[in-house]
């Protein structure tokens, strides 16, 4: 199970994105982060092996997040459910 890393110039926050490859709002989130030059890691949960899906489920829930996509976790503490541009801008300072 491997997160994909997207490099960017803004590295002051640890940004983790749980996504689905088919999900429109996940694509918008990826695009937004890339456009803003934010470095982030993401995983497309629908493309994982079955055994890894359960690990991801536990990891999402353990952070107090919901099983909803996209879920963005900033610095292991701020949870953003859905593509919420204003909230992302504020939290990431972009």
């Amino acid at each position: 199970m491997q997160f994909s890393k997207v490099t960017g110039k803004k590295v002051d926050h640890k940004v983790t994105l749980y996504a689905l490859s088919t999900c429109v709002w996940c694509k918008m989130t990826k695009q937004f982060l890339t456009d803003k030059g934010v470095e982030y890691e993401f995983i497309d949960v629908d493309l994982l092996e079955d055994n890894d899906k359960e690990k991801i489920r536990q990891s999402i829930l353990s952070k107090g997040a919901k099983l909803s996509y996209p879920t963005i976790i900033v610095d292991d503490k701020t949870i953003i459910t859905g593509f919420k541009k204003d909230q992302l801008k504020e939290v990431l300072g972009v």
């Binding site: 689905l20 088919t22 999900c23 429109v24 629908d46 079955d50 055994n51 899906k53 359960e54 099983l67």
Partner: protein
């Protein structure tokens, strides 16, 4: 292979039938169609592109587009969970609302079960339930782990007390597809078959 044209024609026809609109942004709309096409070719049915599939039809049937939750979400928020289907006001204002997930967590959890394992029941039990939102008559189907060892769901006959619509599935739809009666209007049909005389 399902094509984008088939997907888009189906969605447009469905929106028209129910008096809904498709999302007003053409780029977004195209992306929804792409997602639905990918899922239909991957699973054999047009699963909601915004949700995780289990890949088992019976587990996924409530989130096959248009999903069970669409009508009630449009009535409450003006759009479905994905915001593919919207009402007239949202279509004209082009201001898409936030729509929270109302699918019960027990059903969401099934998408994460390894297909060869029987872990499903324990996963369901460990989760905080969303029973508050589940009408009492449908409670039994949700609060008990419905999955069996073979990954099959326990199907029952349900009828709509308002119009008589009958459906054979795990739990009744959120809204009757025929008369739009609420979930609470569904009751289980208990059949007793006597073989004597």
């Amino acid at each position: 292979m399902t094509t984008i044209e088939q997907i888009s024609q189906r969605a447009e026809a469905d929106a028209k039938t129910y008096g809904y609109y498709l999302t007003p942004n053409p780029e977004l709309l195209q992306a929804f169609f792409e997602g639905l096409k990918t899922n239909e070719n991957r699973y054999g049915y047009p699963l909601c592109p915004c949700r995780l599939a289990s890949g088992k039809f019976e587990y996924d049937r409530d989130i096959i587009c248009p999903c069970d939750y669409r009508d009630i979400d449009i009535a409450q928020y003006g759009a479905c969970y994905c915001r593919l289907y919207v009402n007239k006001t949202v279509y004209e204002n082009k201001n898409l609302p936030d729509v929270p997930e109302r699918r019960p967590i027990e059903k969401q959890n099934r998408a994460y079960e390894p297909k060869t394992s029987t872990a499903g029941a324990s996963i369901s039990e460990n989760q905080a339930t969303t029973e508050k939102t589940i009408p009492t008559q449908a409670k039994s189907a949700v609060s008990q782990p419905a999955s069996t060892e073979s990954g099959e769901v326990k199907k029952k006959l349900w009828y709509c007390k308002q119009c008589g619509y009958v459906t054979y599935r795990e739990d009744p739809p959120y809204i009757c597809p025929i008369c739009k009666a609420k979930h609470e209007m569904f009751e289980e049909i208990n059949l007793k078959i006597s073989l004597s005389g």
